[in-house]
């Protein structure tokens, strides 16, 4: 089946099986490798992508469902100021160990920060923990991820 959608700012057209999930389309057909296979049942978050700026797990999404959608992965954010600032904060905060969860963790964090900034919210540590609760990290980087998000939020709110 033909599906047309925007991926990282570019219109792509793919011919997929009706039961094909977006995770497979991205990884196997479109060369998007930042999106990881972890559980294939919507539990670990490693396959997260942004659909219209909302983090969604791509292993539970049929590719045919996203016809016409706007999909973003970390491949599409490598010249986005906020994302790059966050990535460097992840590094400075030692929020990365094995790194398997990291692109998805960063995407979720990015969407959260963006929303918070746009709506001038002042999220608590608990709000942040809640925002990333769908992204499992077996290496246990959670405290560091929270630290990185807080730092970016702090810096960005001061700037204004």
């Amino acid at each position: 089946m033909r599906v047309v959608f925007t991926l990282n700012g570019r219109v792509v057209e793919v011919d997929v099986e009706p039961n094909e999930v977006l995770l497979d389309t991205l990884r196997l057909r479109l060369g998007i490798k930042s999106v990881k296979r972890g559980c294939e049942r919507g539990e670990c978050g490693a396959c997260t992508v942004l659909v219209s700026n909302v983090p969604v797990v791509s292993c539970l999404l049929l590719t045919v469902q996203i016809n016409g959608s706007n999909i973003v992965t970390v491949e599409g954010l490598q010249s986005d100021d906020l994302f790059m600032e966050l990535a460097s904060e992840f590094s400075k905060s030692f929020a990365v160990q094995c790194g398997y969860c990291s692109p998805a963790m960063a995407l979720t964090s990015y969407a959260f920060i963006k929303k918070a900034l746009e709506n001038s919210l002042k999220p608590s540590r608990e709000d942040i923990a809640k925002a990333i609760e769908g992204n499992l990290c077996r290496c246990g980087t959670y405290p560091r991820v929270l630290m990185a998000i807080e730092k970016v939020l702090e810096r960005r709110t001061q700037v204004r």
Binding site: K33, R37, F90, V96, C98, P103
Partner: protein, 776 residues
Amino acid sequence: MVEDPEIIIRRWFVAESFIAVGKSLERVDSIEKVLGRARFVEDFFEEGFLVARLALARIPHARIRKISYDHILKNPKVHQVLTYRDIPGENQVGYAIPDQPLLAERKVRYYGEPVAVVVGRDPDTVNSAVEEVVLDVDPLPALYNSLEAMERQDILVHEALGTNIAFKTRVRKGDVDSGFSKADVVVENTYRTHHQEHAYLEPEAALAIPDLENRITVIATIQYPHLGQKIVAKVLGIPSSYVKIVAPYIGGGFGGKDDEGPLVAARAALAAYHLRRPVLLYYTREDSMQIHPKREATVIRYKSGATQDGKLTAIEVTIVHDTGAYANRGPFILWRATMHSSGPYYVPNAKIDGYCVYTNKVPQGSFRGFGNPSVQFAAEAQMDQLAEKLGFDPIDLRLINMLRPSSETITGQMLMSSVGIYDALKKLASESNWRIKRRMYEESRAGRFRRGIGVAVGWHGNSTSRAVPDWSNSYIHISRDGSVSVYTGIVEIGQGSPSSSHRQLVAEVLGCPFEKVNIVFGTTDAPDTGATHASRGTSVGAIGILVAAGKIRSRLESFLAEYFNVQKEEIKMSSGEVVVGDKVKMKWEELIALAYSKGVDLSATGYFFLPKGVFNDEVGQGFAYPAFSFIAVVAEVEVDTFTGKVRVLEVHPALAVGKVINPEAVKTQVEGAIVQGLGYTLMEKLVISEDGRIINDNLTDYVIPTSHETPVIREAIFVEDLWEYGPFGAKGVGEMAFIPMPAAIANALSHALGIRVTELPLTLDKVYSLTRDSSR
């Protein structure tokens, strides 16, 4: 020129000022990982490669009559189905005991045992084909209880052995009868701990690529490339030198990929060998959970005695490990548990017996802590009970018995130095406000929510067990432009050895710029460095790097001294600046260009064989480990007595792990282990059904900690009790914080409820019934 490893290790051991070592330099892999540029095994898959999955046995114990799959091959998208019959070399992959086939042959011994490799064109095809492999069997009665299996002779998991006891350990020190007769109090209990699933986010996978002349390259989720090389060669019946293993970035290991890694590699290699095409073998999450070995499930009977003044007089311990269908590394795990069973205390009389027992369950295997968390859980619960009976504060009682320099362990090994746990625990007691909180929570033990604070210590022998040899190795080569290539077999599984500490060591020793150092890790192209396990990546694993770099540094110094006619002491090399006497200054790059032009050899290997003593297995006495790492943690919990829910509020760690090469990186290892230990203690539980199947073989039903369960983790206290052979005195750290977690949480919960916890995990229902007991 100094080429002697011992002299090189010594030179840097006594160093007093540092440029890169001891600094929290950013890891070089973080950014590329966040940006999705880091490559993991499956990321090397390309269109046109074949894919494979494993067909698993769906019965716990049976004799195999026939494996049929001809009907599957009618599907043109299925390329091949491979069973034990297709193995050209040996179908034998047991690590400790030769008891395990790569693919089931003659018998099935656990539900989920791999039977066949199914290769096809695409995932859809192999996903359905694996379900269609027909296993024709004669079912056998199965054993699930280790205590029962120990006694039974009529049902045998491995008939040829004549018993279900795979391996035994023992320690006989002093005379326990006289020890107990001197005791004023004796405490005796049976403790039970459970399996744990690694649940690394990246499931196992291996991409095998056939090469010229029957050579093969396998990119695999593996913690020890050279072991994978050996196993692949054995299974295919080809020389090791024909096999190249590459471990790219690995999405978490924790020991699981040390056991399963070589087997995934061998199964993928078997497929590529027959099909002569690249094949990606991948495990689904369910496959991963069914197949790979788990943390040991144990029953531990523990008796301890102490005098009125708090001195331990004797311990008598029986440890039973349920090793499942295969010994795997079970004997090594049991050995470690046995030799650590006292905790880091001086115990004059000890009688320890360990049993590694076969059952028809998933095998037991390596997992962060390697037999130690379960036995420290028991040992530390005993210490708390002794303290209570004797009227001591739990920390005071521990300090009275704690190992110090020149103390003797239960194996009779004298520890001359690098024993910093006494100081670490003392500092922890004051910095965590232990005494105040302990009293405060005791006085407010009422109402729905109750708080408790508990302490636990742990120790962990560095390097592989027993008098078994351990070594380190590496190869360093400096290019003409001054860039430094460091080859190590150590793998990057998240711990950060190749991506931070190794670079720091090299930059420190060579005096070159940090950015010039490139670590080529996780490949059999490097010399065999031993495994990335046992917390050895930055300790034992890095000694080879230190030695190789030390040799080159010494050659450069000798060259400069001669060339400029100065004393070696007048040469300074740091951060890429070279100063010779008071006249010459040059850049690192200039030095290298000059050295090249004058014929200085700038390649070196850094082999080091770790000195070991003798060990007598009959009585379990002798040299067990070249050094021990130590940890103490204080944990605070809050329990909801209405629901049984336990929250860990705060954890305060203190470590004595020698020189800390990168403090922030070490702290993240500590934090990660705390979170994992918390999950194990409170929520993670594998449910095994009547027919031996793991029912919750997915991340929905097997629940691991999220950002929510993460407690406040206080700044770690470090006591740098340097180890003479560690690089700059470093000891192992990766596993440490896991070890005391079950004990610390259980002790805190016991404190909150005023009743003793002896069994894990502390799930809602269990804690709820404990709260009922405590209010009764």
